[in-house]
Subunit: 197 residues, 2 copies
DNA sequence: ATTATTTCACTGCAACTGTATAGAAATGGA
DNA sequence: TCCATTTCTATACAGTTGCAGTGAAATAAT
C-alpha cells in the first residue's frame, strides 16, 4: 500500500553518524544533513523524530558498533586485550580511530550547552560501559595472576577512561587519527609492566 | 574629548572568558554575551572586532593566565613541578581546573567546524607551549639524574599532552573539576617512579 | 556655550535555524 | 480504474544569528 521510501534506513544512519562525527550537532543544519544523508526533511521528522532524534539514533549506532567491534574482546580477556583496545584508538581502519576524534567525546563536550538529558544519558552510558569492560578485563587478569597483581582493578579502570578521552581529543585537535600514539604507547607499556612474564 | 566607556576592558574579557568556557563559541549569541559581560554590541564590534575577535582575546587571556600561573614553574623545575601541574588540573581553585573543562580543549573540538585559522593557531600554540614546558622540565630532570634517566624527554612530553586533554574532557563531561583525578594519580605515580630517591 | 569626538541604546537587516504544513507523487489492493 | 495510505517535494513560519546603521548622550577642549 504505502509508497516505497527513497532511502535505506541503515545507510542513512551511517551517513548521519559520519556527518555528526565530523561537524558536531549544532553546526550541522537540517538542510545540510539532508544533503549528506540522502534523507529528506519529512523522513528526518517522521522516521527519526527530528534532528535530535536522528542524532540519538546515530549515537546508539556508534556505541553499539564500538562496543561490539572494539570493547567486546576485553570481556573474555585481560591486559593484552586492553592493550589491543588502546592500539585501536590510533590505528587507521579501526572503528575507534578517526581524524574527527570520537563522537561521544565530542558530544560530551558540546552537550554541556544543549543540556539534553537523552544525549547526556547516551554519553554517560558509553563511558560506564567502557569502564566496565576495562574492569572485567582487569579482574580477569587479577584472577589469573593471583593476589600478587600490582594494580587495583577499579582504580586502574577509572584512570584508563580519561586517557581514552584524551587520545580522541588529541586526534581531533590535530585532525590526525594517529596523533595520540605517544600516550597510547605509554599506557600500553604501563599495562604490560603489570603483566609479569 | 571622548565619552567614557561604560565597561572595564579587562573585566569584560574575564567575564567573556568564563562565558565562552562554559557555553562554547557557537552556542553563545552576541545578545547573551552582552548580558554576561556587561559589554554592548558596539563595544564588541569596535573594541574587539566582533564576536570572533572577542573570543580570540579571551583565548589569549586564558593562555597567558594558564601559562604564567601553572606552567611557568616547570621551566625551572623537574618531575615534581610536572606532578604539581597535573595535580592542579583537578584541584579546585587552580586556574586549570574547572567543571567546564578547558577552554582550549573545548575550542579544539568545536573549531573543527568553524575552521578559523586564527582560532586554530591559538589552540595549536597552547599545546605546543605546554609540550615545551614538559620537555624543559624533563630535560632539567635528566640533566640532574645523569644518563641513567629511565625516560626519553621528548617522547614522554608528547604523551603527557593528550593526558592533560583527557583529564579536562573527563572533567567537563562529568561537570566535575575533580573527576579526572584517577588518571592524574596514575600519571603522577609513573612520573614519581622515574625519579629515583 | 559651542564644538568635535567617542560611545551609547535602539532598530533594522539578510541569512539562517528547526519545524510545520500543503499538495503532488507513488504504491498496491479492491 | 479507483481508492486508501504513505512518502515525497516545496513552501511557509516564527525565532534566532551576527552585524550594520542611526541618532542621541556624554565628554573635554575651545
Amino acid at each position: 500500500m504505502p509508497r516505497q521510501k527513497s532511502y535505506d534506513r541503515q545507510n542513512a544512519i551511517t551517513k548521519a553518524c559520519n556527518a555528526f562525527w565530523e561537524h558536531g550537532f549544532q553546526s550541522l543544519g537540517v538542510r545540510e544533513l539532508e544533503r549528506l544523508t540522502g534523507l529528506n526533511q519529512f523522513a528526518i521528522r517522521s522516521e527519526f523524530g527530528g534532528k535530535e532524534g536522528l542524532y540519538l539514533e546515530t549515537l546508539n549506532y556508534y556505541c553499539d558498533a564500538a562496543i561490539s567491534a572494539e570493547m567486546a574482546p576485553m570481556k573474555q580477556g585481560g591486559i593484552p586485550e586492553i592493550v589491543s583496545f588502546f592500539k585501536g584508538l590510533v590505528t587507521p581502519g579501526s572503528m575507534t580511530s578517526s581524524d574527527y576524534g570520537c563522537l561521544i567525546v565530542n558530544t560530551g563536550i558540546e552537550n554541556a550547552r544543549i543540556q539534553s538529558p537523552r544525549l547526556e544519558n547516551a554519553v554517560r552510558s558509553y563511558w560506564n560501559t567502557l569502564e566496565d569492560h576495562f574492569l572485567i578485563a582487569l579482574e580477569n587478569e587479577q584472577a589469573e595472576q593471583g593476589e600478587g597483581a600490582a594494580f587495583t582493578p577499579h582504580i586502574l579502570a577509572a584512570s584508563l577512561v580519561p586517557a581514552v578521552m584524551g587520545i580522541h581529543a588529541h586526534n581531533r585537535s590535530h585532525r590526525d587519527q594517529t596523533a595520540g600514539r605517544p600516550l597510547v604507547d605509554l599506557i600500553c607499556s604501563i599495562l604490560s609492566g603489570y603483566r609479569p612474564l
